[in-house]
Amino acid sequence: MPWISPMVEKYKSQYGSGLDAQTYLGQNYFSVDHSLIPNILRLLRDDQQFDYCVDITAVHYPKREKQFDVVWILYSFPRNERVRVKTQIADGASIPSSVSIWPTANWLEREVYDMFGIQFEGHPDLKRILLPDGWKGYPLRKDYGILQQDQEWVQINLGIESGQ
């Protein structure tokens, strides 16, 4: 259902179409156009005191033309309140990194890149964090099979025929 609050009114007036606020089971979240990303986050951190970026993650919807949902989960210590910011980007598109806003985003964005292949511009050193560097393919995409492995990497590095 739509989420009505003074903060939302202010941002709606400011950004109009590019932003809409929902609430589900008592948890409020913004769905934002990916062009607004860096400054909406900065605004939330500076004006609304959402100083703690709990988590950054992504969800893959292969059927939609803008396949990825990138989600920021924020929390404000002074106001003891949580909010989520969601944006949709197409496969292969890149999104400005929020490391300059919250340093914790460094590893969180690296993991999203590692798992989904979403590029983050302006990230200090965007490379894989969990998987080995030479690994090809992004596991958490829906089209990446549960048993699938990067055969070539396995053969070169581990010297065995296949991981299975």
Partner: protein, 390 residues
Amino acid sequence: MSDHNNDSENVVSLSHLDLETPEKPYLDSNELIINMGPQHPATHGVLRVILKLDGEKVLGTECVIGYLHRGVEKIAENRTYTMFNPYVDRMDYVAAVSNGLGYCEAVEKLLNVEAPARAKYIRVILTELNRIASHQLWLGTHALDIGAMTPLFYTFRDREEILKIFEKYCGARLTTHAFRIGGCQYETYAGFEKDVKNFLTFVKPKIDEYEALLTTNRIWLERTKNVGVISGADCIALGVTGPVLRASGVKWDLRKAQPYAAYSEFDFEIPTGENGDTYDRYMVRMIEMRQSLRIIEQAVNGIPEGPIMGKVPKVIKPPVGEIYHSIEAPKGELGYFIVSDGSTQPYRIRVRPPSFVNLQALDIMVRGMLVADVVAVIGTLDIVLGEVDR
């Protein structure tokens, strides 16, 4: 990992935290790149830290993780909600019960279902017992890393009692899988309250024993005071939570800030430290252990009668939507972001691991410290690699 260049110069740069770089020494000492490799006694699991050293001083670190990556989130997309429950225990295998609690409560929130009062009380008792066990394991290994061998044996002897209670209750000692979505699986066995009460009286003097051995130990103070200092602001900026955050002076605990599972009915304090060094984190965790005892005492005395399982359909098909729910795990804020598409299998489960985010702060805390302190700081961060790599 073959082409991972060893002398990776791009050390994690957190420039905005304006760290003064050490001014150029007179003699240009040769910088040493040392691998505190995956097989190292003090890295609490399979973690590789690449240290850039100038003599003994640490100039910068870079953590190489992923050795224990099992792709839990990918597996989640191919399991039903109930089938995924045991996987959750394998992430932070030291505090498995709180993982289970977090997951079950998240799904209950998705289903808009409330666990019955008795189930909530049982959950609080087991989670707090698990917190004490996790802190005991932390104390043992942390003291061993700094050189004191004896606490390890004391803590493991006392932890054994907790594991016995878990075994009697749900058959498993470590990865307990004691909770189900909607409540608890098993009714408490006959002597449960008596066992827990005996445990409370048994462990209270034991914690004083640890304190007697370490708190006023001259060398312990020397090795932990002003080591791995991190300020409250840096903690918040880096998303560090749990005892590390509280030791830096930020009085924030999810059990009080956003109470869940009957925590609102117990009174307990949240310990905080002043200058966020290893000694404060040690004190915060010791006080937390005592507070957990208080909670368990209140919970055991006030446990209500009644059903232990809420009205949950046989086959769990939550409505379309997404929720984020987090609890206070022993290491910090453990969050579950579940996206459901209405089918019996979750569309996406994202686990927010406290150890993974806390480990990111290692680089700041260790800069300018000596090699011996890197070991102490990894110990005090209390990271479990199962949770870091998922």
